[in-house]
């Protein structure tokens, strides 16, 4: 082994902190505030033990166990036990994603772009970059654990004592550390940053699924998953610390392994060789539409699976809804009762608006891909050939419209299939499907807005995400937060009739569609007449 493998680690750590001086605080602040706000809101939502026990009952079904993990302390469902049961797993996964993205950014992505080469040509140790990345990420996760731990305790909730809160923080931090290590390892194995992210996220999903299957069927399976270890600490109920040490211990072993692999490999090489591809293009690729589809293939398939599972998991809770609603104040605020309709049907309208907004994400991504390609100077390859701008934009537009329809259908099918299997009295599939499809005009307006921004102000096309977030906020939480009426009228989703509770108002849908068509047309015309940038 050569000398001075770690030289200048300190300076490089400083560089990473400097480069992420906004990114890291944003992650830390949003994750910790989210956790603390949710914990604080639990005390408002469930005022007494009776209400909490009622919730505990609805948590006793396998679908919930698969989703959020085994419920420890369901017999005495304190605020702490509820927090650990409902929030810990998802927060830990968010922290894992943070760690994965940050590690890739500073290891394989930098290496791929040739920046590590410049660093390595300076008097810096061979392992200094990887080492400093891991050090910074471990630091970030420890900091997060402490902020969350002390923050939760500072709320002064009876069932959230100091030890439990610190353990909660530690569970989150340890998840971040082990995924830092896992990503560092894949950054050595894979040759590209995409590959590294792909492998690491896959491990995260496998960990989640192993735990889900294990928690429902055979507990031994859950112990193969790091997420199972984390939940095994039974925070606020039994407060076991050893799973945290186990997680950090395994993370350390993986760190040593990845440092070793980094030391013995060549720069820009990986242990998993990229396999060679096609020498000739398949006929499906040979058009702007084919190309646009091919570029987004993997993402669209993943989203299709995702929206189906999303529909299914919402469907799984439909069975227990009536009892759940009967004694929950929050839900009464969300859904004021309407004569002649069951609570489940009312809840369905709320579900559909949420589902439709989530299903709007992939079509927006598909549309905005056109702008992404432009910034990377790749649209000029097409436009300098016999491809008109209308045809180019049209390709992305078609994918956007079709994917939106497909996502919404898949979510509705998932919801219907699982929902009807758990409900005593099912809902006719036709009604359910039309309740989803009425949201198409709202989705078209969002796609139209993306097209309009691409045509008029491509640099500002991110605004459409802000608008979607705004819609989500006012439509989902408008009733709960008692927001003024005009705020929700600004969102297209608010104007969609709430089927099956309301009649389908075809006039409204028609007007929304016309609005969508107009802004789409303006977008196309402007795109045709502007300079291509990048």
């Amino acid at each position: 082994m050569s000398k001075q493998l770690y030289k200048n680690t300190r300076i490089l750590s400083g560089l990473i902190v400097r480069r992420d001086r906004v990114r890291i605080p944003v992650w830390l602040i949003s994750l910790s505030t989210l956790t603390i706000i949710v914990a604080a809101s639990f005390t408002d939502l469930y005022k007494n033990e009776g209400e909490r026990q009622a919730i505990a009952e609805t948590m006793r079904n396998p679908a919930m166990t698969a989703m959020v993990g085994q419920g420890y302390g369901l017999e005495n469902y304190t605020n702490g036990a509820m927090m650990a049961h409902q929030m810990l797993l998802f927060t830990a996964m968010a922290v894992a994603i943070m760690s994965i993205l940050l590690v890739v950014r500073h290891t394989r992505a930098d290496e791929e772009d040739g920046r590590i080469e410049i660093i390595r040509a300076l008097p810096a140790g061979r392992l200094a970059n990887l080492n400093s990345t891991i050090l910074v990420l471990f630091g970030v996760n420890v900091l997060l654990a402490l902020i969350v731990g002390f923050g939760l305790n500072a709320l002064g909730i009876e069932s959230m004592d100091l030890e439990g809160s610190l353990l909660y923080g530690a569970a989150i931090g340890a998840t971040g550390m082990i995924f830092t290590a896992i990503t560092a390892l894949f950054a050595q194995l894979s040759e590209s940053s995409r590959g590294t992210i792909g492998f690491s996220i896959t491990i995260l999903l496998i960990a989640y699924l192993l735990r889900a299957v294990g928690d429902v069927s055979n507990e031994a399976l859950s112990w193969l998953s790091p997420l199972g270890w984390i939940l095994g600490s039974e925070v606020y109920v039994n407060n076991y610390w050893w799973p945290i040490f186990l997680t950090v211990g395994v993370a350390s072993i993986l760190v040593v392994l990845s440092l070793y692999l980094n030391a013995i490999r060549d720069l820009e090489a990986g242990f998993l060789r990229a396999k060679s591809g096609r020498k000739k293009a398949s006929p499906f690729l040979l058009s702007p539409l084919g190309l646009a589809l091919r570029l987004q293939r993997t993402g669209l398939i993943a989203w299709a699976v995702g929206t189906f599972i999303l529909g299914g998991s919402y469907g799984s809770v439909l069975g227990d809804l009536e009892s759940f609603f009967a004694d929950n104040d929050m839900m009464k605020n969300l859904l004021p009762p309407v004569e002649g309709f069951s609570l489940t049907e009312q809840f369905l309208t709320m579900l559909m608006s949420v589902i439709s907004m989530i299903c709007t994400i992939p079509p927006l991504m598909a549309m905005l891909k056109l702008k992404g390609e432009e910034s990377k100077n790749r649209t000029e390859h097409l436009l300098s050939r016999a491809v008109s701008r209308i045809r180019l934009m049209g390709s992305y537009f078609v994918i956007s419209i079709v994917s939106g329809f497909a996502m919404l259908s898949l979510a509705a099918i998932g919801l219907g299939a699982v929902g009807n299997s758990v409900m005593e009295e099912g809902i006719a599939f036709g009604r359910l499907y039309s309740a989803a499809m009425v949201y198409l005009p709202a989705m078209w307006i969002m796609i139209g807005l993306a097209a309009l921004l691409i045509g008029v102000a491509p640099k500002l096309s991110g605004i459409v995400w802000a608008y979607l977030t705004y819609s989500f906020f006012v439509v989902y939480l408008g009733g709960l937060l008692q927001l003024p009426e005009w705020m929700s009228t600004l969102s297209p989703y608010n104007h969609i009739p709430k089927v099956p509770v309301e009649e389908i108002d075809y006039m409204k849908l028609f007007i929304l569609t016309i609005v969508a068509i107009v802004i789409i047309a303006v977008g196309f015309i402007q795109y045709k007449n502007r300079d291509i940038q990048g």
Binding site: R194, A274, A281, L285, K376, N377, S384, A386
Partner: protein
Amino acid sequence: MSVLKTTNLIKRFGAFTALDGVNIEVNEGEVYGFIGPNGAGKSTTIRLLLGILKATEGEARIFGMDVWEDAVDIHKRIAYVPGDVNLWPNLTGGEVIDLFVKLRGSNNKSRREELIKKFDLDPSKKCRTYSKGNRQKVALISAFSSDADLYILDEPTSGLDPLMERVFQECVLEAKSTGKSVILSSHILSEVERLCDKVGIIRQGKMIETGTLNELRHLTRTSLAVETKQPLINLNEMRGVHGVEKKDRALSFQVDAEELDNVIKYVSRFGILSLVSTPPTLEDLFMRHYEGAGKTPKAGVGGAK
């Protein structure tokens, strides 16, 4: 017949004027060299020609059609190679070549294979693994395997090794021999000198010189190295003589093209033992114009014929 003609092309980005009245004319079977320093407006001009940018004023026509209105029809008959080729990281080189050829419309299978071999490219690799030179090859192969009438090449050889540069030059000459036109923007002046019939020099958005290489050479100085029987005297006082230097027994100096006749007559009186005359290279020309950002260019340079 003129294949490409721009008239007083102006492009402004906000308050900044990138192109200020650019006139270019390329005829059938002609290779036009387009040279200028970084940021002079070469790529902006080319992007205007491709209909990717819209001209603020002026007109540009290719095959008699408007570059903005008839972009698609024009593009069926042209091939473009950018200087900085960004490709889709998850497609292979072979896939990209096929896509590009298909999007133009025509298809020449045997030519594709021949060029892949000539340029020594592995088409089965993903574009993310290609070096700059290899990405450049993908663009070049797609361009030359199509039967275009006009080739628009924007610094196409940046990143190629000398061997591949030779292959590229063969491709251009071959296109020329079959009557195709080429507009070649380049920094490699020896390449322009070898390939181009006509040269246009752009600086700060303005065409400062256009003409054949021979015409341009007239605008600058010829280097002479003379050895005479009798010592050559009073040369410094002759009109049009610059930079006299003594080298061993010879004198070297530069002479303005229009004074060459007088100077030679004068020198011959001293009895010439040896005379070496070197025509100005494109580099001399180029340097003279670029260094002269502060100095006034010689009167009557632009378009003098």
